[in-house]
């Protein structure tokens, strides 16, 4: 029927059988390769790839905690959390993204570029994942977005908490500010456990207590599909708000200090002599911490960092100044304790003092005549202390300085504290390779030369005199509480040491400080109140040494720093105030009026209460 008989004769199945066998082996090899590969993927790499499939499927949405509040000693809120508004777009819901973006830009009056700045990956292939397109839009813009929501499909508003520093620049150096964690911070040990999108304290208390303030982030585990659509919640942990912090600061007194300080640059600290609590601390010039809330502009940052008056510096703890005459009290204490003088030891001052081939002068031309220790402190006689310095020697003075808390950090709860500098013979040799010169001791005995102290060191040393000899650790934090008010950690006043000065000698010194304000020819006369209850000492920190009669009309940056420390009242002091006016000239005339205003303000405040 089909008639192809002749072809059958050509057909040799044997030859093909051989070939088929060979091809069969090749096919088996091919299957073996595929099976091996499948074995490798599913059995050898199975766990690894299963993990990757889980990573595909499970998204963790972070729930950010609220940062703790910071309050003053009376519980008045100093730092609050405010709502800021971010806008995002969900590509899938927007349909035509470009149209929506253009509409949004038009409604809000933004340039077309302003809104695309964070437009990283609109085409990521995950159309249900919101993409942030604008940060920290104002309430006016929020209103526009909300009322036009019909024309803006896919645009969603996220409420993000931001810090609000209620007192703005007046407390900037205490409270600090927050910002996005930097890559260098992330790498350090201090920030282990932090993540790249965390907000951290960058300065001040915000930085110092970041661990307490930040709270614990919560999270939500959701299953998503390939498009990024959230399907169901697999697990959830709540975020825990950060702890609230109560400071020792009194917001009203802080305001008084801010207003009282009418000079260009300097610092004021007010301390409670009986506890070492910092009641107020201001720095001028200052900066506006609210500008840092959601990232400060590069231009503003540059302006802050290049300002020659250094608004970012917290002078109270990191400013280092020669203490000037305020140092005389320490020299007097040392001489009394060492038995080198008695309180009635008299020294003759003719206005000059010879040390080797150099002549040192008293600030008062013609000298003070024959005076005792009390008058020497009251009138701040330099020659009297030149003599005490020679008796004591540099190393003895350094020994007492350390006991008064100079030359090392006080441990105040603020970042960036400096140590100051208390020179010794050994130090000089090490640093300069030269031996100590006798004349340097002479300068040192009136707080000039190498010696440097920070304002907070100086004030607490005076507080120790005021309270009868107890050197406190400066206290800035009163208490840390949970949101519900449970105490997490209490910070009672901490005594660092007792001054190595007898009660009797402290009374001598304290009385001399009273005299400096209330007796005739006292250098702190401006501070004298009707109550005659202020004790104080002025100081002039030389920036460069000047020849006589040259002190008027010198350039600002070469002018001396004006220092003043005082405490009130004489009997049982309740506040101690330190004022530093940078380049303010002579101590008494510039810094004393400021201190006076603060003391008066404080008592007015007390009266009102």
């Amino acid at each position: 029927m089909f008639g192809n008989q002749d072809r059958l004769t050509n057909y040799d199945p044997g030859e093909f059988r051989e070939k088929i066998r060979l091809i069969k082996w090749l096919v088996l090899l091919a299957f073996f390769i595929l099976i091996s590969r499948l074995w490798y993927l599913q059995v050898v790499k199975g766990d690894n790839l299963r993990q990757r499939s889980e990573n595909n499927r499970i998204r963790i949405h972070e729930i950010k905690p609220l940062r703790g509040l910071i309050m003053d000693t009376h519980g008045n809120i100093l730092v609050d959390n405010q709502s800021s508004f971010d806008i995002s777009i969900i590509p899938e819901a927007a349909k035509n993204i470009e149209d929506v973006m253009n509409t949004l830009a038009r409604l809000c009056g933004w340039g077309p570029d302003a809104i695309f700045c964070e437009n990283v990956s609109l085409k990521s292939g995950r159309p249900f994942v919101p993409v942030r397109i604008g940060r920290n839009i104002g309430r006016d813009k929020l209103a526009i977005v909300e009322t036009n929501s019909m024309d803006l499909p896919g645009v969603v508003v996220d409420v993000v908490p931001v810090r609000e520093y209620i007192h703005g620049e007046t407390m900037a150096h205490i409270l600090g500010y927050v910002g996005d964690i930097s890559t260098s911070e992330l790498g350090g040990d201090a920030y282990s456990g932090y993540r790249s999108d965390d907000i951290v304290g960058k300065y001040g208390i915000e930085k110092y207590l970041d661990g307490y303030l930040k709270g614990e982030r919560g999270g939500e585990q959701t299953e998503v599909d390939a498009a990024g659509r959230r399907l169901n919640v697999l697990g959830k942990t709540k975020s825990v708000s950060g702890h609230n912090v109560l400071l020792t600061i009194d917001a009203d007194l802080q305001k008084i200090c801010w207003d009282a300080f009418d000079e260009k640059a300097g610092t004021v600290i007010v301390m409670d002599p009986h506890t070492g609590s910092v009641m107020a601390l201001i720095n001028k010039p200052s900066f506006e911490p609210n500008l840092f809330n959601r990232g400060i502009s590069g231009e503003r940052w540059k302006k802050l960092t290049t300002n020659p008056l250094c608004p970012l510096q917290n002078r109270a703890v990191s400013g280092q100044y020669p203490p000037g005459s305020t140092y005389k009290l320490l020299v007097a204490a040392a001489a009394l304790e060492e038995g080198l003088i008695k309180e009635n030891t008299k020294i003759f001052c003719d206005g000059t003092y010879r040390m080797g081939d150099r002549t040192f002068r008293c600030w008062k031309k013609g000298g003070h005549g024959t005076i005792d220790l009390h008058r020497a402190i009251v009138e701040s006689c330099d020659v009297y202390f030149y003599n005490l310095g020679e008796m004591l020697g540099v190393d003895k003075m350094a020994e007492y300085a350390a006991k008064f808390g100079f030359g090392y950090t006080t441990g105040i709860a603020l970042p960036g504290e400096k140590e100051g500098l208390i020179p010794t013979k050994e130090w000089k040799l090490k640093k300069y390779g030269e031996p100590w010169q006798k004349g340097e001791t002479t300068s040192l005995s009136i707080g000039q030369g190498f010696v440097l102290v920070t304002p907070v060191q100086l004030l607490r040393a005076y507080c120790a005199i005021a309270n009868g000899g107890i050197l406190y650790k400066p206290r800035l934090i009163k208490r840390i509480e949970t949101v519900n008010g449970q105490v997490v950690r209490d910070f009672p006043p901490e005594i660092e040491r007792n001054l190595p000065v007898s009660k009797k000698h402290i009374d001598v010194l304290k009385y001399a400080l009273w005299g400096a304000v209330n007796e005739p020819h006292g250098t702190g006369g401006i501070l004298k109140r009707e109550e005659k209850d202020v004790c104080g000492k002025t100081g002039t920190a030389q920036v460069i040494s000047l020849q006589e009669n040259e002190s008027d009309d010198i350039p600002y940056r070469f002018r001396d720093h004006a220092l003043l420390v005082c405490f009130v009242p004489y009997k049982d002091p309740v506040i101690a105030v330190l004022v530093v006016v940078e380049h303010g000239g002579h101590g008494g005339s510039v810094s004393a009026p400021i201190a006076r205003r603060i003391v008066d303000g404080y008592f007015n405040l007390k009266r009102k209460e």
């Binding site: 029927m1 595929l34 499948l38 599913q42 790839l49 499939s53």
Partner: protein
Amino acid sequence: MKIDRRLFANFDWVLLGLVLLISGIGILNLYSAGYNLNAGGEPFYTKQMSWILLGLVVMVITFSIDYHIIIRHAYLIYVVSLSLLLLVFFYGNITHGSQRWLLLYGFSFQPSELMKLAIIIVLARYFDDNMEREYRFGNLVVLLTIVGIPFFMIARQPDLGTAMFLMILFLSMAVFVGVGRKFLIYFTLGGLILAPLCWFFLKDYQRERILTFLNPERDPLGAGYHIIQSIIAIGSGGIWGKGFLKGTQTQLRFLPEQQTDFAFSVFAEEWGFGGVFALMFIFLMLILWGFKITRYSRDLPGALLAFGVTIFVFWGIFINVGMVVGIFPVVGIPLPFFSYGGSSMMILMIGAGLLMNVSMRRFILQP
């Protein structure tokens, strides 16, 4: 035409059984792949069932006609297939930037699939006509013309994968009949010279695919996405799989092209190495059964047809599975009897029909 009753006595139940087994697993798999797909319309697995049923009818028709008649009309079949390819060239539907489909009465049809079978038939005829010990240059020219025309037409669509597939079928059959070593060397050298030239004619997405194959991670969200997600799906199945309907890569749609090119990955994710091993074993059985039919076919055209169809199925399996496990570049070759696709299923059913045709007639002496 009278059909010999003895044909039914020799009916190849094993072949039918293997084909139905694989298609059945394929339907189950398509059910899972479409389980969470709420895009209205008829689900893929029921459509595939219709194709299989229709395919069975076509299969019966195919094995009812003596394959010698089919061989006799080989050139006609070839010319018809070419004409359809030409129609695609002028009237084809464009999807995803390439022109592969022909719309007939509401059905879309892929003539390039038909061409795979036509090439097998026409080559069987040609080799049967010219069963000589030494092939000459003239033979080479004719053969290259026969394969070359559809190759370029399909490559132009562009569908380089299918075009290369034709070339592979041709080479396999040429090796099988023993065209001679010299012939193969010329051909290979020619290929090696032409390959770099081809690079310039490739479309961007084709180059992209080759580069992506070489390093899938170079663009994980773009061109490399398919292969990475496929490897994750397969590997995450582990030894025993995540369970039917429980493959997260599949159900949450991380895996692309689940119904077609990557259907095997769906199966591998949900059934694990155990399931995959079983499936590959069944495929291997099918191939070996095809070789058995080839060996026992009673004449040369039968052997050539049987071998052609078997090797066609083999290359489909090897290339598709090789592609989803990341050892071959992504080319659109479906997994035989398993991936969704009307044209492909029809052609495979006709192919199975041809195999049965040869198998059933091995003992029947022509009157």
